[in-house]
């Protein structure tokens, strides 16, 4: 009996520990869900606020969002989530809004090249130009994907070292290859991977993330999260462009 009692006492603590760790996990989990409930509520209030203002802007009641002065916007970039990009009508609608606001140069980007496959092919059949760039009425539209980013820079590196290896004067001097940023930019242009640096980038998707937009072109780009493409509206677009037109950059000074 004493032996049984001893065995029971030896076994009890781990079982109790196990039970109390499950209870602790439940408490932590509950607190975690509570915290996230607070975050979701705050985000919901912000979203509704934004939706209300966007709807008012869409009606045209607010004058300041009507005649947008976009002198400092030479190129606008749009990152779209690849899944949402499958719905081609949304992107076409977005392009038509931008055309009506007189935006002259647009770079479309999605991670997996869905836009190249859908809109790009549309353009190709309409205008007989390359997949990457097309002139649409008064607008130039460039379409990029992940392979135009880091891989483009690697190709530029190969281009530069190729030129260096063929240049006997440089190699005989014993000078190590040391290229400059402008040489890299020129190399990107030579191999067809150069485009304008967008001043503004609009992200349509669940998260504010540029998803691999060509790094060489993103240095001073204002990045704005517009929410899901499914819920896009003219008012949010006008608001984003208006806020951008009021921006001042120091460029490090």
């Amino acid at each position: 009996m004493y032996l049984a009692h001893g065995i029971t006492r030896a076994l009890a603590p781990p079982v109790q520990k196990f039970q109390s760790s499950i209870i602790l996990k439940w408490i932590l989990g509950f607190c975690w869900y509570l915290l996230h409930l607070v975050v979701s509520l705050v985000d919901m209030v912000c979203f509704l606020n934004h939706l209300l203002l966007s709807s008012i802007i869409s009606t045209g009641l607010l004058r300041k969002y009507q005649n947008l002065k976009l002198n400092n916007l030479n190129c606008l970039a749009i990152v779209v989530d690849s899944e949402e990009a499958e719905d081609i009508t949304k992107t076409q609608k977005l392009l038509s809004w931008l055309s009506s606001i007189d935006v002259k140069c647009i770079t479309l980007y999605d991670l997996q090249g869905v836009l190249k496959r859908t809109i790009g092919n549309d353009f190709k059949s309409m205008t007989n130009t390359s997949l990457r760039e097309c002139k649409m009425s008064k607008m130039t539209v460039e379409i990029l994907s992940l392979s135009d980013g880091k891989e483009g820079i690697a190709k530029a590196a190969n281009f530069l070292i190729s030129k260096y290896m063929k240049d006997d004067s440089l190699r005989c001097n014993g000078t190590k290859p040391t290229f400059s940023e402008s040489q890299v930019s020129n190399a990107l242009e030579a191999i067809g991977y150069k485009g304008p640096d967008p001043e503004l980038l609009l992200v349509y998707g669940p998260a504010r993330c540029h998803l691999g937009f060509p790094p060489w072109r993103l240095r001073y780009t204002e990045i704005i999260h517009m929410g899901s493409l499914r819920f896009m509206n003219y008012g949010s677009l006008a608001r984003a462009l208006y806020d951008f037109s009021k921006k001042n950059q120091n460029y490090g000074k």
């Binding site: 932590l28 989990g29 607190c31 975690w32 915290l35 996230h36 975050v39 979701s40 985000d43 991670l111 997996q112 992940l146 980013g149 880091k150 891989e151 820079i153 690697a154 190709k155 530029a156 590196a157 190969n158 530069l160 070292i161 190729s162 260096y164 290896m165 190699r171 190590k176 290859p177 040391t178 290229f179 400059s180 940023e181 890299v184 998707g205 669940p206 998260a207 504010r208 993330c209 540029h210 998803l211 691999g212 790094p215 060489w216 993103l218 240095r219 001073y220 780009t221 204002e222 990045i223 704005i224 999260h225 950059q249 460029y251 490090g252 000074k253």
Partner: protein
């Protein structure tokens, strides 16, 4: 008697506060925790203007804010923290300001290596990313000394970007990759497609770190200003509307909570990219 009873209180309060923080971080870690957070510490000068103090004092308060944010990050289990301390573009500022920033940097690097500093508390490994040859000699050697001193530390990593821009980092990676290619191959060899994305990544300053999960820029500005452009492919970009010296624990917790909300989406996109 009263004096004696007053002295232990701050220590007790600190312990209670530390215990509460641990509880809070335990709750947070029920969800996915970021391994790498990057900060663009923007707004020191505007903070100084707002508080009507000298411009240089804004940077000093900013440093205090940095040390407490680092403490909270490491207590939460974040392995890598990267901060944008000084850009190559910042050399364009007035010489007096650049000079005082350099002086502040030297002072803070020396402070970090002192016994009671956060470096010793957490066994931090220090990295300095950037074109260090652009820095004045005293700061460059202080930075190199700090890296050597902490090279064998096995704790979390603090990477400080000074005289840094992302395009300059990518350029240096291109130059290192090309130099390695030239050393390996002989005359007449064709390097077409020999330099791969992975070669460039191995030669970036950030080669030893994972990519940042969150990039936080304070003062509400929405641009990256040439910071970690290559590494932030799947980073959650956040722009809280407050100046850097005002960034505190509650802002950090909010930042982690927002990251946890979008984590499933970003992780799915990251996996898709790796598979293709």
């Amino acid at each position: 008697m009263e004096k004696h009873s007053q002295r232990p209180e701050p220590k007790n309060l600190n312990s209670v506060w530390r215990f509460l923080r641990r509880c809070l971080f335990s709750v947070l870690s029920f969800g996915p925790m970021p391994k790498h957070i990057a900060f663009i510490m923007d707004g020191n000068r505007r903070y100084a203007k707002k508080m009507q103090i000298k411009e240089g004092s804004g940077h000093n308060v900013g440093f205090t804010s940095l040390v407490s944010s680092l403490q909270y990050c490491y207590e939460m289990g974040v392995k890598y923290v990267t901060v944008y301390a000084f850009s190559i573009d910042n050399f364009k500022r007035k010489p007096e300001e650049v000079g005082s920033l350099m002086h502040l940097m030297k002072e803070k690097i020396d402070q970090l290596l002192e016994e009671e500093s956060i470096v010793h508390k957490f066994g931090l490994k220090l990295n300095f990313w950037g074109s260090l040859d652009l820095l004045p000699e005293p700061i460059r050697s202080a930075a190199e000394k700090a890296m050597v001193h902490t090279a064998n530390n096995t704790g979390p990593v603090l990477s400080i970007c000074v005289a840094y821009t992302s395009t300059n980092e990518i350029l240096r990676a291109i130059n290192k990759s090309c130099a390695r290619f030239e050393d390996k191959t002989g005359e007449g060899s064709d390097p077409a497609n020999s330099i791969l994305v992975t070669d460039l990544e191995e030669n970036l300053d950030s080669a030893s770190c994972s990519e940042p999960d969150i990039v936080i820029r304070t003062s509400g500005e929405t641009r990256l200003s040439n910071f970690l452009l290559w590494q932030s492919t799947f980073s959650h970009l956040q722009s809280p509307n407050l100046f850097w010296p005002e960034f505190s624990l509650r802002h950090l917790i909010w930042s982690v909570l927002e990251y946890q909300k979008v984590y499933p989406y970003l992780e799915a996109r990251r996996k898709l990219c790796q598979e293709s």
